[in-house]
Structures are given as C-alpha cells and as structure tokens.
C-alpha cells in the first residue's frame, strides 16, 4: 500500500516537474457554409445550404531534453444537415520517446505516407474520415504502438495496431453519397475478424540524393470496405476484410520538377489487384516578372478493379490535371484548380480552392466543386447533382 502510494507520489512529482518542461495549447475553430444549387439526386437528401462548425484543440508537451513528447488532438464538427457529419474524433493521444536511433510511440496517432497529390493511395494506416470531405484528406486517429529505428541506410518503422476504425459515411439526407445510402451502423467484419484483430505494418523510408523512397507491407483489416446492398436494397452495408498489401512510393526531385509514383498490390478483397498513381509537379517560379509561382500538376490514376463492382473506386483509369497559383504575398493568397477526367467514360469533376489569410489569427477559403457525367454507369454519376460552392472562415489560437 505504502509502496503504491510512494510510486503515485513519485509519478505525480515526476509528471509535474516534467510538465514544466514545455507544454502548449493551441487550436482551430471554423465556420463553413456550402450551397448546392442543384436539386438532390434523391429527394431524401437536403437541398440548398449546409452549415457547420468545427473545432480542433491540440495540447502538446515536450520534456527539457526533448527525449519525450506527448500530444492530444481532438476534432469535432457540428453540421445542420447531415447527422453523420456531426461527429467527434480523438485524432491524436500519444506519448513518444526518442533515444538516439530509436523511437517509440504509444497511443492514437495519424501517420502520413506517400507523395501524390490527387489521391493518397499508399496512405494506409489511418481510416478516412469520409464525411469531412470527398478529397480524402481527413483521417481518424488510429491506436498503435510504433517502433522506429533510424539506421545509416534508412528508417524502419514497425506498427502494431488494434482497435480498428470504421469509415464514416454521409447520412441518408447528406450529399456526396452513393445512390443507395451506406449504413455504417450495420458494418460487419469477415469471419474470424473483429475490431480488435491485431494488425502489423512495416515501413521503410530513405533519401538517396534526389530520390525519396518509401516501401511498406501491411497485414490487417482493409480500411476500404466492400459495400453490398442489404436484402431490400435500401442500404449498402460495409464489410471489412483481412488484407495483405505491399506498396511503394517514390519521388524524384530535380530543379523545378517533382516526379511522383505510388503503387500497391493488395490481396484479400476478391482478386488480388494492383493500383497506382503517378505523375509530376512542375513549378514556374516568378511568372511574368511577378512574385507569383505557378505549379502545374498532372497525375495518372489506375486501379485494376475497375470502376464498377462491389468495391467501387472512381480512380480506375483517370487523369488528374491541376494548377496551383501562389501569389507569395503577405497573406499567402493561393488558388488551386484541378480536374479529374475519367478516361473510360469522359465524366469528370472540377475543384477550385482559393485561400487567403485575413490576419494573424484568421483565414478565409472559398471552394467550389462541379461534376459532369453523361453516362448513368459512370463512377461519378452518384455525385452529379452535388456540385457546390462553399466558404469557410477559420480562426486559430
């Protein structure tokens, strides 16, 4: 008893002294309104305006010798039209210890793998927070133990995971959903699997001159569910399977050129398939004697599975073309415009984002997305009434 007490006091003391080292609280608040000019494809979906508010406080700590770190990041959104979009998630809650070449991280974390811009194909560890945005750039926190070793010839990172995170999907009344709405509450796992099934991933990364090289192997529950209709075809039910995946990501950087490639092979969801995204980013600096930089991007996306079937991917044979204009002014004004063109059926989508800083604590962003599809079999047909224009204000503290 006394011993336990002593340990408790000691831990508290240690913690309080080390807490003095350096801790920091910061965060983000955002207001967003989107307007959908077209009538929804399904009358159950909302029409007109969608307004939401999000918050993301972050607390971090580091000890004096910088050998230990901890971080907690919470994310939440409240949406007035889509109940599934009203959600909270613990993005990060980890403790990390660094000692020479070794690093240990225990807790919930987000990990980013890859180099491409149009699709984050090899970014495997974290589940996509799909209700946030269809650009697949928001991820749910994943519980893990991550052990990394930095050798002279590259970095080896081992991930041991459990506590699978299911993908989020828009509600019946939400936009950007499949014609038959997904019911995430009925999600199930393939036989022999459950949420606590242990998962393993190994990642290797290195830099060789102009080359940034990454490779990974993942064995665990596939983050991408197979969607199948229920008996009366009223809802699609996500099913999660055990997969084994190997992937490679490369970037070659020379002068103003970035050449990028991501590929993977995945086994366990029907027939083994191959997918890739590759292309370039070329920047014209200080165009027309101004301070403006113009980046030109082109990427080709391929997926063996094709666009139709139980695991639908819209990126089966597509071309992504984009430009990024950075004004390099005091307010970091930037404009990004990109199109996806489906090379199978000619359908496509256009996305424009304009961003600018208002002051030291606030930014404004305007985004617009349009869909075009003539073909009822097209992957994009589901979103063809979901063109929108949105404005968001973000505050940082």
């Amino acid at each position: 008893m006394l011993k336990t007490y002593r340990i408790l006091v000691l831990t508290t003391l240690l913690l309080s002294t080390s807490l003095k080292a350096e801790s920091d609280l910061k965060g983000e608040l955002g207001f967003e309104t989107r307007w959908f000019p077209d009538d929804p494809a399904d009358s159950r979906q909302f029409d007109g305006f969608q307004t939401s508010f999000h918050f993301e406080p972050e607390w971090s700590w580091e000890n004096q010798s910088r050998s230990q770190q901890a971080k907690i990041t919470l994310f939440g959104r409240v949406d007035n039209r889509d109940d599934e979009r009203t959600h909270v998630d613990l993005r990060d809650m980890y403790w990390q210890w660094v000692n020479n070449q070794w690093e240990v991280l225990i807790g919930i974390n987000r990990v980013f793998w890859g180099v491409a811009e149009s699709r984050h194909l090899v970014n495997t560890i974290n589940q996509i927070d799909q209700v946030e945005s269809i650009d697949e750039e928001s991820f749910l926190g994943q519980p893990m133990v991550n052990l990394s070793y930095e050798s002279d010839f590259g970095r080896f990172s081992l991930y041991l995971m459990s506590g699978f995170r299911e993908r989020t999907f828009p509600d019946v009344e939400g936009r950007f959903r499949t014609p038959i709405p997904v019911d995430p509450d009925q999600a199930f796992y393939a036989s022999g699997l459950d949420q606590w099934h242990p998962e393993t991933a190994l990642r290797y990364t290195t830099v060789l001159g102009d080359w940034d090289i990454g490779a990974h192997i993942f064995h665990g529950i596939g983050r991408e569910p197979t969607l199948s209709p229920n008996q009366d075809f009223s809802r699609l039910i996500p099913q999660y399977e055990l997969i084994t995946q190997a992937g490679l990501d490369l970037q070659y950087t020379r002068e103003a050129w970035l050449w990028k490639l991501e590929t993977l092979v995945r086994k366990g969801q029907g027939k083994t398939f191959f997918a890739m995204v590759g292309g370039f980013e070329y920047t014209l600096y200080q165009i027309l004697n101004s301070n403006y930089d113009l980046g030109l991007l082109a990427e080709y996306l391929y997926d063996d599975r094709g666009g139709l079937g139980s695991t639908v991917t819209p990126f089966d044979n597509d071309l992504f073309l984009a430009f990024r204009l950075a004004l390099n002014d005091i307010n970091d004004t930037a404009l990004l415009a990109g199109v996806f063109v489906d090379l199978n059926d000619g359908s496509g989508s256009l996305r424009i984002e304009a961003e600018r800083r208002l002051n030291d604590f606030a930014t404004i962003e305007i985004e617009a997305q349009g869909f075009h599809s003539d073909n009822s079999n097209s992957d994009l047909n589901a979103f063809k009434e979901d063109s929108y224009i949105g404005i968001s204000l973000n505050f940082y503290y």
Partner: protein
C-alpha cells in the same frame, strides 16, 4: 666530378638588377592576381570568424512593411547545425509560430554548395512531409523582401569574390568586396558586401538584379559576441528599392551548443516538430 650547385650557377651568372626587376614584376603580378584572392580571403575571414559554433537555435521576428508603412509580424525559430567542412553545407530547420494558421509548419534544408539544396516542408494539418524543389532561389521567402537565397546561400563557397576597395562606413574601416553567385537560378548578377576590418563582420550588402541594377540593400546591425568569437547581428533590415517595401529580421535568444545533432535534422525529425 663535383656536381655544381645550380642555384649557385644562376646566382653567379645573373645580374642583380635582373633579379630586382623580376621580384618587382612578380610582386605586381601577385597584386593583380589577388583582387579575387583578396576578396575571397576577406570573405573567408569573415565567414570563419563566426564558425565553430557547432549548433545554434534562435528566435526570429520578421517585420514586413509595405510602401505605405503598414506592418505585419511573423515569428519563427531557426535551428542550425554547422558543418565544419566548407565543401558541405549547414543543415537548418525553420519552424513557424505565427501567423497562427501556419503554426508548426517547418522547412528543413540540407544546404549543398553548388548542387541544389535538399529541402522538405512539413505540413502539420496532414502531418505530411513533402520534399520540395529548391530551384526557387530568387522568390520571396514567406512574402518578405528576403529571397530564399538570402537565407540559404550563406555558404562561403557559394560565391566567387573580388576585392573592390577599402572604405569607411558609419565610422568603421571596411573592405568592400563584390561576390558573384556560383549556384544556379540566382536572381542576382552580383552583390556588394561591406565587411568591417575590426571584427570582420558584414555590415551592409547591396543586391543587383539580373539587369545589374540595384534591387535591394541589406543593413546588418547590433552585432553581439557569443563565447570566444561568435558574432551575430541581431537586426537585419532589407529594403527593396523597386517596391519601397522592407523587411526587418529581429533575432533574439541566441543559444549555442544546445546539444542539437544530426538526428534533429533528418527528414523524419519533422514529425516531432512542435
């Protein structure tokens, strides 16, 4: 047969006046040759006068001022790892604290001498590390009047040099040296640097654009000495003569030998930025 000393022979057979002329001639030759050498020597002495710091960390407040005098401030931290070998560039890590929307954004640079530097950008929102092109030498650094190269191209051997003259600047005896970028994509044809003769620090730099006209002037002031011989200017004022805009860099809380090592400047260290 006894071998004759060739030196002796030369000495004996050459008239003294000839040697005297030769000496004079070679002396002139030396002077002609050393405008470049002298320029390099002055620059090298200046560069080396603050080497041996090992590593440093500093806070930087960047005050951007437009032609109308309106100001905005951004704050950042810079960690530097010195490479003793002059043929290898230093490593640096720049972390932004404000404006708040780019808080935690970081830029890692592995400087090289004539090859393009290796640079990675850390984007905290996605926790993404992105290798970026370092070809953009002459573009503005975060909207300031400082170009990327004004920060990253401080290595001695990134330039060739030429001594211009001795002069006085604000009561200081100075050497005036021209330097020419040897790396690619520079926005400058030349820079003229005023280096004082007492503590060998750069006091003023003029930047000449691709049309060889004066573009910017940099004034370095408030030099402070750390330890034995590490001098650091606390204030850098860059004025753009074309736009009338200016940027002040105010350095504070310099720390040296803080225990930073190679491991703090590897790509994956970006994931530990706070």
């Amino acid at each position: 047969m006894k071998k004759q000393n060739p030196l002796q022979l030369t000495y004996n057979s050459t008239p003294l006046w000839f040697i005297a002329v030769l000496t004079l001639f070679s002396a002139t030759l030396t002077i002609a040759e050393t405008l470049e050498e002298k320029g390099y020597a002055i620059a090298a002495r200046s560069d080396r006068s603050d080497t041996g710091f090992g590593d440093s960390s500093v806070k930087l407040s960047m005050v951007l001022r437009n032609a109308a005098g309106q100001e905005t401030t951004r704050s950042l931290r810079i960690n530097t790892l010195e490479k003793a070998n002059e043929d290898v560039g230093d490593k640096s890590l720049v972390v932004f604290d404000s404006p708040r929307d780019i808080d935690g954004t970081a830029l890692l640079s592995h400087a090289q001498i004539l090859e393009p530097d290796n640079q990675w950008l850390y984007l905290p929102a996605l926790k993404r590390i992105k290798r970026i092109s370092s070809a953009n030498k002459s573009g503005p650094f975060v909207g300031s009047e400082f170009a990327f190269e004004d920060f990253t191209s401080l290595e001695l051997n990134k330039f060739s040099y030429k001594f211009l003259k001795e002069d006085t600047l604000d009561g200081l005896q100075v050497d005036v040296v021209e330097r020419y970028p040897r790396y690619k994509n520079s926005g400058y044809t030349k820079q003229i640097a005023w280096i004082d003769q007492e503590i060998h620090q750069i006091r003023k730099v003029e930047f000449y654009d691709r049309r060889d006209s004066l573009l910017k002037t940099l004034i370095l002031s408030d030099y402070q000495k750390y330890g034995e011989n590490i001098w650091r200017a606390q204030k850098l004022q860059m004025t753009n003569h074309l736009t009338g805009k200016s940027t002040d860099l105010l350095y504070s809380d310099y720390e040296f030998q803080t225990g930073l090592n190679e491991r703090d400047f590897i790509k994956s260290a970006l994931n530990r930025i706070r």
